[in-house]
């Protein structure tokens, strides 16, 4: 085993229910330019793209696995490691940077005990940096569980996550 046990290579092969993937792929087979939307839809359902899923997609769309992984690894919004139930995105656009988003990122990650891009141990949150989400007028901004929080201080950002945690 390598030191980081959450690395893809060290994981036991996971059995994945491919029914939903098949239903999604039915809409895309044989269409030009279908790979990216197909990956997006499959990921939307499974939250992340595990190796069996990617292999299955390659097979079904009649593409080389390397081709599919080439696309998966190119775009930042395809995930090849498990994702938490909620995603906390910290906007790292310029306006947010000028208003201290790095501080928020550092403190939120410390609070949850993860590095940016990682999932918390309980599988509840994934913390990630995200390129400008275009809400610069209310910088610094985080998006937690699909809800946008703007004009934050470090303390307010921490409070937002703590409230989230307790289900408020």
């Amino acid at each position: 085993m390598c030191a980081e046990s959450n690395k893809e290579c060290c994981k036991p092969k996971i059995a994945v229910d491919l029914t939903a993937a098949n239903e999604i792929l039915d809409q895309y087979r044989g269409k030009p330019g279908a790979l990216i939307p197909a990956l997006q839809k499959v990921q939307e359902h499974y939250r992340w793209l595990s190796q069996p899923l990617v292999e299955h997609i390659a097979r079904e769309l009649n593409m080389f696995l390397s081709e599919v992984y080439g696309v998966v690894s190119f775009y930042s919004q395809f995930y090849t490691s498990p994702r938490g139930e909620y995603t906390i995105q910290i906007c790292r656009g310029t306006a947010c940077h000028v208003k201290g988003s790095l501080r928020i990122l550092e403190q939120l990650a410390a609070e949850l005990g993860v590095e940016p891009g990682e999932m918390t141990r309980d599988g509840k949150f994934t913390v990630e940096e995200v390129n400008c989400i275009g809400a610069c007028g209310i910088a610094p901004v985080i998006v937690a569980g699909g809800k946008t929080f703007g004009s934050l201080t470090v303390a307010q950002a921490l409070a937002a996550i703590r409230n989230f945690d307790s289900g408020v």
């Binding site: 696309v71 930042s76 306006a95 400008c132 007028g137 201080t153």
Partner: protein, 607 residues
């Protein structure tokens, strides 16, 4: 007259002119400030009070609108009652709604304390809103509303013209691409029309990746039909049967409203087969991006639509000859398309009468950072930076904070220092000053912003987003980033600045696409204007703006401390000891170095 407008008249009663209207700003900015709750509170409050019975025959309609620009005052609510005129409330919360309904709508007494003041009007006075004009007026989720405001008239007019006449009109207008490079739009359309082949594509570039720019998002959220109308006109002029919106996945609301717009336009005969009975057919579809900045580059974007890695390719062949799926393709920015209906409605000459000699019309800018009124503004080309920063946006807030620089054009651009604040904003003057128009993001920095850190920030961005295809960009930006990082961490060496400049010039000269060719700009421009800050970091291991964390001591400078205690109130971990009339002390064991106190201190007394 568009068929759609005709159907509307027969199907439903026209909206009475004297109706009271409540318009709520529901862009991303508004939504995160609670516009959803405010909207619900208005609907509920009006229903409870049975408004239509109370103010005579007049009914009252609540409608959602897009962003009107002044995000700092969200949620903004307009109430338009004929005998009172238009009143605008700022920072509305759902709790305030019952009082506003009772006082303003029922008693006809606007609630003065919550109304917008001079600031709001000043924000609008020097603007010239064209593409943004209808954002904040039309309901973005209703084609009927758009048509009632004069929408799709330009399309009807264009369809009666010859395609060449449409292109001629766009050429006459002198409009240049609003995506950043500023290529004349009419000429671009002409190239694609002239390219041989029957199958051609037209694409809206809504992959607004520039951090700090959000006008495309606001346009798509606030008035998606105006962009769609521009696209259909472009398709007709060039002769395209298919078109795409390539929009970032980070913009869920824009994507949803775009989807609704396309569906409604299809139902109303403004899109699809035999548009408005003209015999011209055109289909539009949405392609969602997957998170790659480089996909804003046209050839990379097309590769991405084809389902490949979004990597640029050398040109020629240019997209006008060989673009999407090797067919002639035309690609324009969202804002460019949104301008087209105005040009067709009013004529190219009219449009050309706005702006400066070489930069026509108006431009939308996103003002963010350390500025009082953050948000979107639309100003005539040629206005000065000073007017934008001080007259429209209210200057820099905070005690002892002053304007230091404006960063324009994002990671491809540069900064305009305070000495050049009188610069007129047009494509050519900005390039001369070392910045670019870019997509129109303007980040204002005050004296607490470190220019070396800004350069590092942009390089970190471009380095991460470099697709890796060509060596100068892939390795060059990484090396530059390493040098900048060591400077901001206090490990800079003599000669680092010269090395940066030499690397920058090589990368600019030899990269494959715009990303690499412009990535060094923020570094070159900060070196040009703020060389002293680089030297302070390298020689004195000091960050003059107190922003680079590794060079900070987290100590209170006693001479400057005015004993206000704000640092204690802001500190998230209570690491400050302070009592009234004593100087503050930071407890180093407790301090988590979050820099909140440094941001909060009005006297710049913490270093």
């Amino acid at each position: 007259m568009p068929k759609a407008a005709a159907t509307k008249k027969t199907k439903q009663k026209p909206v009475p002119k004297d109706m009271a209207k409540v318009m709520i700003c529901m862009g991303t900015g508004g939504m995160s400030a609670g516009a959803g709750e405010v909207f619900a509170a208005f609907e509920e409050g009006l229903a409870q009070r049975n408004i239509s019975a109370t103010i005579g025959p007049r009914s009252c309609k609540v409608k959602r609108t897009g962003c009107r620009g002044l995000c700092a005052m969200d949620v903004l609510v307009d109430i338009d009652i004929p005998e009172l005129g238009l009143h605008t409330y700022k920072q509305v919360k759902s709790e305030m709604v019952p009082e506003i309904i009772d006082q303003h709508i029922l008693e006809l007494q606007p609630v003065e304390k919550w109304l917008t003041g001079d600031d709001y009007h000043k924000f609008h006075d020097k603007q010239q809103r064209m593409v943004m004009f209808k954002c904040g007026i039309v309901d973005p989720e209703s084609i009927d509303d758009y048509i009632a405001e004069g929408g799709y008239k330009a399309l009807a007019k264009a369809l009666k013209m010859e395609p060449e006449e449409v292109i001629e009109e766009v050429k006459k207008s002198g409009i240049r691409g609003r995506g950043g490079a500023g290529f004349p739009t009419g000429m671009k359309w002409g190239f694609c029309r002239a390219a041989p082949g029957n199958l051609k594509y037209i694409i809206v570039n809504a992959d607004e990746g520039d951090p700090g720019a959000f006008m495309d998002r606001s346009l798509l959220e606030g008035n998606p039909h105006s962009v769609l109308e521009g696209l259909i006109i472009g398709a007709y002029a060039i002769g395209c049967l298919n078109g795409y919106f390539y929009c970032r996945a980070e913009y869920p609301l824009a994507l949803r409203r775009l989807e609704i717009a396309i569906k409604e336009a299809n139902e109303h005969g403004c899109l699809g087969e035999n548009i408005l009975g003209s015999g011209f057919s055109f289909q539009a579809a949405i392609k969602e991006g997957a998170g790659a900045f480089v996909c804003g580059e046209e050839t990379a974007l097309m590769a991405s639509i084809e389902g490949k890695r979004g990597m640029p390719r050398p040109r020629p062949p240019f997209p006008a000859h060989q673009g999407l799926w090797k067919k002639p393709s035309n690609i324009n920015n969202v804002e460019t398309f949104a301008n087209i209906p105005f040009i067709i409605n009013n004529g190219g000459d009219w449009y050309a009468s706005h702006g400066t000699d070489k930069s026509k019309g108006s431009k939308v800018f996103a003002l963010t950072g350390r500025i009082k009124n953050t948000g979107l503004i639309e100003v005539p080309m040629g206005i000065t930076l000073k007017e934008i920063v001080f007259d429209i946006c209210g200057g820099v807030p905070g005690r002892n904070r002053e304007f230091k620089a404006a960063q324009m054009g994002g990671p491809s651009g540069g900064c305009i220092p305070k000495e050049l604040i009188d610069i007129p904003i047009d494509y050519d003057s900005l390039v001369e000053a070392g910045a670019i128009m870019g997509s129109g993001g303007v980040v204002i920095m005050d004296n607490t912003a470190c220019m070396v850190d800004m350069a590092r920030f942009f390089l970190a961005f471009t380095q991460q987003e470099s697709c890796g295809k060509c060596v100068p960009c892939r390795i060059g930006t990484k090396t530059m980033l390493e040098i900048l990082t060591r400077i901001t961490e206090g490990n800079g060496k003599e000669g680092d600045v010269e090395l940066l400049v030499s690397l920058a010039n090589d990368i600019k000269g030899s990269s494959l696409c715009g990303l690499g060719q412009t990535a060094p700009n923020p570094v070159l421009s900060t070196i040009r204007y703020y060389r002293d800050e680089y030297d302070a970091h390298i020689r004195e291991k000091r960050c003059p703006a107190c922003a680079c964390k590794a060079l900070l001591k987290f100590e209170v400078i006693e001479d400057l401390c005015k004993m206000c205690g704000i640092c204690l109130r802001q500190c998230p971990v209570e690491a400050v000891i302070w009592k009234p009339k004593t100087k503050a002390v930071i407890v180093k064991d407790k301090c988590i170095k979050c820099q909140t106190c440094i941001d909060a201190c009005p006297f710049l007394a913490i270093n």
